[in-house]
Symmetry: C3
Subunit: 662 residues, 3 copies
């Protein structure tokens, strides 16, 4: 368990390096990330290399005992590369280049990019393989799939399709190109989806997104292979920006040792629109689930974000510390704060770091220091602990992509709906593991599988087996709609899962924002977006619609199947509805919850064998008191004293408890 | 009178064709439309033709007695055509191509498109001329004017202008190109309106829209001529999408036998924004007016629409049937439902047909079947009946185009204002015929001519003659502003019609959303958008403004002229205002109305000689009771029983009455 | 002091010229602007010139004693020029041309434009140098900086940078191109900011805006030099459109004799969004400040504006006259109304002039005539009077450009915030001179210097000297953030001014629309956008925050410095807050104010020696009574009678008073 910072020695006078290194050490920092955008410094001219400055910077930092993570600089091809080899630039769907000069101006499939990436990464790997301060690598930076239409992508996409479908006849058949006379008669007719039209064939669009995702993963593996060849003792990871992304992060991290994420929780808590875009706890649960183990935060909130867009609010007192502990509570082993000094130059001048432009430590820095010293104090206890939950939620980039190609109804968003479900568990103090939808689920008491819109027969079989063996499975509307080629299935909904769900969808009404009512457990709650009108065969209705022409028809059912049971939710509930439903299921399943959590107060547990550490985090600006059941079983992790039954949490307050036996 | 469906045999296994044909027949279907997007199946490779599959499909359908309408497939040029002959693709105002792969990727003026269209249409026409199952043709699909800037369009536009203006000097003078130094000194300087700028000369923009409209009409006639040459016994029509369109539908249907429309009434009745885009009854009255006779619905609502955009609500129980009867009540003789099976493949997977993806008939299918059986039952009575109203509304694509080039004020929209006027008549149960503004009006008791912004001397003369002979004419604000070349006239408003209107506009205030008040018939109502401050000469004010600095000035006048009278409305009224005004005018003119209709309940009458059939349609989700005056004069069309004085209409309820003597 | 009109004889039949000239004279008009868009008439074909029509028009106008201002026609290159020499067209950031056919389709750096501009301007200058009716020139029309990326601009930008930075090493260092590997190693790598991305380096973006601004100023000087060579007795000016603009108007007018502005106050007073875009009095104060002397209005509101966009409301009765007097009250010596006749042709058909399309004088014309006769009556008194205020506000295009490149927070806008400050002085009847931020300020009692975000050491020194000598200076938040190369400074905020401000910003919170409270002078008021939490050293807090975690921390301070004092406002106040604060400062500084002005009633004074003329203008649609203190010191300027202590002002009411001794 360590704390780190992101640092850009190349942006600052060498005169400050040594003092910076001393100050980092004094602040409790152990790890420093360097050089992920420094290509023009490392290779100022084609085939002219200069690693001396980086050697020097590492030496200075190492002199204070700091460990180094190096970034490969491929996110920012220098001018000589983009100008000399224009195939480096991505081409948009109107055949216009993405001009150089910012970031991301590189096509993962560009032959020139690959060639020069190989050289610079290999040289860096060879050079730093033996440097004892260097512990590992970050590939590139925040890679996401391009929407690129260059010649290399066009040719690559054709090859990708040929590998998948073998013949054009198969492709025509699987995509249904007969619609609107889209049948191909020569491979040369197949292009990327030019024109940016959403009207294109959805099977075509989904395969192109898969190809684009595969291109990123392949570029990442390409770098990882080079690094592993020369630096067998170093770890390799990559830092993702967050969600949603077209890129399949499970594929992207196939070649990585562990996951890492850049985490910037919303500082504008009164701004619903901004807050909604942040997934908070879900981002961390998703990240932990990528490799199903602990992870790094490679960039962590240190001040107000803002660049070419307006700044948000500065983190309120306590916020930086509380969210740093939040990442630890959900599985982060190393938290690297972005960034040591706020940039004085370039486009990110107002993306604030720990130190302001003037460099004098202030409130935010002090708060960070408090977190660092606390983490260092507890790291002996927390090392080796992991997060182990009894509820699994199945996430799928495939579903997200397919549902963005064809948004089902106003307000329907796979990820936003996923967050609604996840938040209900957060509110009830129930930990959730968020896994790839193809992952093994047999160890969980409860599995939530939202909108399995594309139907994968292997997943269907896995879930059937899980239920057969006694598991509780929750399915939701828009399940079993399509096959994996994004073609609608002829089966009654919810498709192949209708057997274990014991129900079919008789018809549906995409109600959108035309809100409806539902009656469940003697209460009446709201629902929206979509209404499946259910026809149970063996299932038992547990909620009925209470509005319009479908009043009285089943909306949610529960079906006993094998030794387990399957819930089917035919609509999207409001928060109160989800809390009532999942409260019921959690109690029924015997999964522990934390009752009475105020909104915005989160609980998570790390454990190792019998040792359990419970984090109670007030992520709000209000003061809250939390009642702790069985408080005598818990001690304060810092003081060792007995936990109080009533925990007072100021704004940003953090309470860390350990099980009495730990 | 027949019911039909749109069917795509090429999308489905041949195995289902026969059963589908049987099921269609059993459902009461008589007509099937085929093949309007099937170019890649009919000509899979350049000059390689395959009509066998279509022959087979027709044979199967014909074996159940079904009649066939064939679409020409020109809306979807196949890859071999777009790739081999890129002049097929439209070019946008920034000189970028519209890429292939969806629909509409064809310039009507493209020489290659014309060449390959001629061949495929001619081959189809020859092949199916003698097929007894085939009764007629639909050209292309939902054609609208392109905004194309390709070489063929540029050259074509120049020729079009040369035909119109003979010399550049004339063109310069008529367009007023002297403004901003836009004078042309060589024909080569004349381009299409590149850059997409709304700041271009409005005379130039309007002529380009006319040219674009003429291009569609010419392409349509090009196909019709081929079809008529080879299939003299078949009808030829085209299916329009709706309104507004740049294309002048009156010109477009010059070469057609009758009009056809695709009709998808808004299913989201609680969503004002979506509902506003649908014209409902006005679409049907417009369509009937195109050829001033009965028409076809070539695609009729069968389920929720939705594709690349979110789905809307599913039609509520009764809605499919009620709207099918609505089309009949306003002049449809054949109603073809879109579509038999919901697509499993391609971009329109969620544009729901009669059968869902699973193919099992459900609520919507049953409702359709009820309509089909009812129509088949009544077709003996209704055959030969037509809609004949006493009110004519004059619609003009020219005005719509000109007013979109220069929107007069916030909120002002020619078509939306037209709909406001039309809806007032619908609410009062007064049938309206909506005609081209150049059509003959002498048979009507009342003529509504909204915003004759462009002044056509022939129309002026026609209206003057009409009033002279005793007609009642209603004019509105923004009349007589421009000549036909989109140049402002030097006459006082309302231009040449000011004589018969007996009023001039002293000045005007474009009030936009700055709502104003009006005093009329001892009541006070709202007005908006535009306020003409009127100076009557011979006219009598019947309403005055009641707000701001123009309080007390006349807003609406009535002028006796010849044997008739002319109303001039100098503003845009709210619904209550229009109902009061038109209620007054209708009573004064002796036009029959249907008093006390609840909002959303529509009445229309078809007749033939003495026989009259009245349709009372509840298009809402609420239950309504309608009081029928002189109920003893009416009988129920299905049972023959005496009509009740109080008609109870459930949601989507339909009552069809026939005159006692019918 | 004169009244004029803009006139386009080339748009009208020669038959009307003579009557128009007579009517102008009868209406009190003295000046007519001609020909600023008439290139295609003056040079119909390359090197074919025709000035005869203009000679004739001038002769006709001169026969009625009218004086002529000629526009150079370079805003509208004719077709032969744009087609024959395509380098004339600007190229956008995606490398697409701005097509000809509207206006502005000319790059100021285009060699062909320069070549043909030189010829036509020289020919015009030679031809009209000796025409006694011609008194001066307007260059081009409403020039603003292009965002052009053509070859000439690319080359020009490189040269501009080379002149500024000498070497690429300097440029790399000053711009901080090391960020994201943006270091240049060859001048050929430097382009304009292609792609239109806001993510580009802000130092790069700001220098490109300076280059673009310099390009306009250079093109303007290029024309002025030609005109001055041949017409030494004529004045040369240019008409600006308004604010904000990238172009530095102080630079642009360096080569001009006096400033001129086109003034269209908002007619939609109930439409906040539209009204907000107009700066009203601030536009006039800014214009007067450009050359720090009286100016011309070259286009003045005469009717509703509207073209390709919807029309606004027509000016309410009194509005045209009141705003014409407003321009005079704030320093206009000549008011040229746009335009004599409303265009019947071209894109500006609905930008209404004094006469409507029909040409019959109406209410607006009569109102204009009243203004003209009043001005002619008073011109003897007003000639030679100027506006001299005791408050200076420092405006900076540099700050505006830099703050638009990096908007600080939601709602923060340099110009909108400037207007908020300015409006507070307008409400209190305190005149303000608005000067370039680099101008001399020593003559003022109070200097307001909003958001000196970019820090210019010369300005810092000037302000320090000013305060030292006894001046009162008001600084606001976001001062001292950056150096002139748009790089963040390492000093504590407010940068080099923190010494005389006696305060530093401890930290800041970009609160945006998350409104906060402030306690000041025993009252409580709102603040927004940004909160600096202040740490005074020698300053005294005069307001504290009253909300959230920074409750009780200083928000506004006042520091005695030298013989003067410095206020620092760490946030953006609401109107009540500014009125309280500036009311306090104005009283403290002994600057005269006009108490009790109703909202929308403005006061301004022109003077010459002892003679003072006070204009009291009701710019609203409501009636107001204004109490005049010391009324016995004032006389009515028209009647010479004693001023009443209570002035009744109808909507658009105007009262002009002269000091009793004048």
């Amino acid at each position: 368990m360590k704390v780190g910072v992101d640092y850009y020695p190349e942006h600052w006078d060498r005169a400050v390096w040594q003092q910076d290194a001393k100050d980092m050490k004094a602040a409790g920092i152990k790890v420093v990330r360097l050089a992920e955008f420094a290509w023009s410094r490392l290779e100022p001219r084609e085939e002219v290399y200069d690693f001396q400055w980086l050697d020097d910077a590492i030496a200075v930092l190492a002199s204070e005992g700091l460990e180094i993570v190096l970034g490969t600089p491929t996110a920012t091809p220098p001018h000589w590369l983009a100008d000399g080899y224009p195939d480096v630039l991505p081409i948009d769907s109107k055949k216009q280049p993405m001009y150089k000069g910012v970031r991301w101006h590189r096509c993962y499939n560009s032959p020139s990019l690959r060639r020069y990436t190989r050289v610079i990464v290999e040289k860096l790997a060879r050079h730093y393989a033996g440097n004892p301060a260097v512990i590992g690598w970050q590939t590139d930076n925040e890679m996401v799939a391009n929407d690129c239409h260059c010649d290399a992508c066009t040719a690559g996409f054709r090859q990708w399709l040929e590998r998948k479908y073998s013949t054009l006849d198969n492709l025509n058949k699987e995509w249904g190109t007969v619609v609107w006379s889209g049948e191909y008669t020569a491979w040369s007719q197949v292009t990327t989806p030019l024109g940016g039209s959403p009207h294109q064939n959805p099977s075509f669009l989904l395969d192109f997104q898969r190809f684009s995702s595969d291109s990123v993963a392949d570029f990442n593996k390409f770098q990882a292979d080079i690094l592993r060849t020369h630096c067998p003792d170093h770890f390799v990871t990559h830092n993702i920006w967050g969600y949603p992304v077209v890129t399949d992060n499970y594929d992207l991290f196939e070649s990585m040792d562990f996951a890492a994420v850049d985490y910037y929780p919303a500082t504008d808590q009164n701004n619903d629109a901004k807050a909604r875009n942040y997934l908070g706890a879900l981002t961390l649960d998703l990240t932990r689930g990528i490799k199903q183990k602990n992870f790094w935060v490679m960039e962590q909130l240190s001040g107000t974000p803002g660049c070419w867009f307006p700044m948000s609010r500065t983190p309120f007192p306590g916020m930086i510390r509380a969210h740093a502990w939040q990442t630890v509570s959900r599985g982060a082993d190393v938290v690297v704060h972005f960034r040591w000094r706020t940039a004085r130059i370039g486009a990110e001048q107002f993306w604030h770091g720990l130190l302001d432009h003037h460099g004098v430590p202030g409130r935010r820095f002090e708060e960070f220091k408090r977190f660092a010293s606390e983490l260092n104090m507890l790291s002996g206890l927390l090392d080796g602990t992991v997060v182990q939950n009894q509820v699994a939620m199945l996430y799928s980039h495939e579903q997200n992509n397919a549902l963005r190609i064809q948004p089902q109804v106003d307000g329907f968003d796979y990820l936003a709906n996923f967050k609604k479900l996840h938040q209900s568990f957060v509110r009830q103090g129930v930990g959730t593991d968020v896994l790839n939808w193809t992952s093994k689920v047999s160890d969980y008491k409860l599995v939530i599988a939202p909108s399995l819109y594309l139907e994968d027969p292997l997943v269907v079989q896995k879930l059937a087996d899980y239920v057969e063996a006694g598991g509780t499975l929750v399915l939701t509307t828009r399940t079993g709609v399509k096959n994996m080629n994004n073609v609608c299935l002829p089966t009654r909904l919810p498709g192949a899962l209708r057997e274990i769900a014991g129900v079919i969808v008789d018809e549906y009404d995409p109600v959108g924002h035309d809100a409806q009512r539902i009656a469940m457990f003697d209460a009446n709650t709201g629902c929206m977006q979509w209404c499946d009108l259910l026809e149970p065969s063996t299932a038992k209705p547990i909620a009925h619609y209470d509005s319009e022409y479908f009043k009285g028809r089943p909306a949610i059912t529960c079906n006993p199947a094998g030794k387990g049971r399957v819930y089917y939710i035919g609509t999207v509930l409001d928060d109160a509805g989800y809390d009532a439903l999942f409260g019921h299921i959690v109690r029924e399943t015997g999964i522990p919850a934390f009752a009475g959590l105020p909104s915005g107060v989160e609980v998570s547990i790390r454990q190792s064998g019998d040792k359990r550490y419970m984090f109670v985090l007030n992520l709000t600006k209000r003061t809250h008191t939390v009642h702790l059941e069985n408080h005598q079983r818990w001690r304060n992790a810092f003081t060792g004293g007995m936990a109080s039954p009533d925990i007072l949490l100021e704004q940003g307050g953090v309470e860390i408890l350990m099980s009495a036996g730990a």
